[in-house]
Amino acid sequence: MPGLAPSEIRQQFPIFSHHPELAYLDNAATTQKPRAVIDGLAAFYEKQNANIHRGIYSLSAQATLQYEQVRRKVAALIGAPGPGSIVYTSGATAGINLVASSFLLPRLRPGDEVLISAMEHHANLIPWQMACRQAGARLGVIPMSPVGELDMAAFRQMLSGRVKMLAITHLSNTLGTINPVEEMTALAHRKGIPVLVDGAQSAAHLEIDVAGWGVDFFAFSGHKLFGPTGIGILYGRAEHLEAMQPVIFGGDMVRNVTFEETSFAAPPQRFEAGTTHIAGVIGLGCAVDFVSRLDRPAVRARVEALGQYARALLAEIPGLRFIGEARQAGAIVSFVLDRVHPHDLATFLSAEHIAVRAGHHCTQPIMQYYGIPGTTRASFTLYNTREEAERLAAQVREAQKFFT
């Protein structure tokens, strides 16, 4: 199995040579980049840089081929039927917004309903809220239990004929909860309800099978999958993409343009107006190659075990309370500590070269649910180690001593 050992994997990430002391535990915010991605980007700019699609000279033709090739790689990674269903976006947020305004809004009527869950990231909440407001529809919220698991019985009951969309996170960036998206999709589809899965956190860590699950849309970001910033993917079922109108207009997404009217190109180009983030696509291709070469189930098992280990160590600290304790969970560990504010804790940990995030993690409703202003969150991925989990726990203890 190539490169499964964390030490081997870690060597591929230059950030750790530059910061040998760094325990980077903010992977849910963004991941570090392997050498292959950084070099791939640089090589593109140094040797192949050109605009695509409309170019005849060799550089441009090569760039176009590579650019389109990445669609195939992404399709293979997430189990999509083919490159035509892979839309390049600027990130998960942009992808979800596109579905809300171009797919949902035109078919949303007063009195209709859109279902999300109680644990959604703002990116998978506000776009639907705004669409509902514009159409006079209602935003339904699938409730969750105090440990952060969705209430599936309530969910089943909420699946009425009025529901026009289900948008659900695969892996909660705050709670770590992994939701049963396959089952939820099947239930929603029985009522003819289209499903979007927010894969921002899961794409890097879980096996994705969009065609197998039958989801209608799946959105994620390159930068959380060891790839560059500014690039993301929206997978959409071909018949949906076919039916959707673009919302951003410009070059390369048209067929015919006159001052009187414009006809649009076929998907996915239809949704990719102007010069896209070509280098980002190439870099994302390198990132997909990187993760595809790993034994993904084995990596997942190891990373989730690491999350469990961190939980076990932290659980021994008096006054520490986990926010999110679902049975199915990724390696995202959120907690609050009596009498120590998350920001003070994060500053303390930063001084010890431990990078964690503190705050609401763009999930204010989760904070409202638990009645807290924020949490401290440690999120682990394939280059993290048990030693880092131990340092985290030890320094949380130190911080507790210092502040209280």
């Binding site: 005849i56 441009s60 067929r255």
Partner: protein, 146 residues
């Protein structure tokens, strides 16, 4: 100019470009297909009828680069009079010649071979396949319908 390019153009393409087969507008065709590449503005109309399951009266008119025009001329030369099924096979054979992903073409029409050079110029692929894709879409729909 380098040899690859010479090869691409000279063997067949400039010939067909300068002396296209079946060029001109036609009235009274049963079908007119519009082969249009909005990215470059090239546009050909293909005229033909179907008689006893065969393509007849095939011709074309329009504007395009040497490659697209020659490819359309070659199309007319080879598909005129062919039964739908055979015509579809030829579409696939042509495609196999120009697609860089496709296995290297085994022996096919000599006219087609010239376009193999297009593999070296992926920016021009679409020029070679413009009319071929249009008619192959039509023929496939025929196959499904009948």
């Amino acid at each position: 100019m380098n040899e690859k390019l010479k090869q691409l153009y000279q063997s067949v393409i400039l010939q067909h470009n300068n002396h296209p087969v079946g060029y001109g507008k036609r009235e009274g065709s049963a079908y007119t297909l519009d082969a249009y590449n909005p990215l470059c503005g090239d546009r050909f109309q293909l005229f033909f009828s179907l008689e006893d399951g065969r393509i007849t009266g095939l011709g074309f008119h329009g504007y395009g680069c040497a490659i697209s025009k020659a490819a359309t001329s070659v199309l007319v030369k080879h598909l005129e009079g062919q039964p739908v099924q055979r015509a579809l096979e030829m579409c696939r054979a042509f495609e196999a010649v120009v697609q860089p992903d496709a296995p290297a073409p085994s022996a096919t029409e000599e006219d087609f071979e010239a376009f193999a050079a297009a593999r070296e110029f992926p920016g021009r692929l679409k020029c070679a396949t413009l009319s071929w894709e249009e008619i192959s879409r039509f023929l496939e729909a025929q196959g499904v319908g009948g």
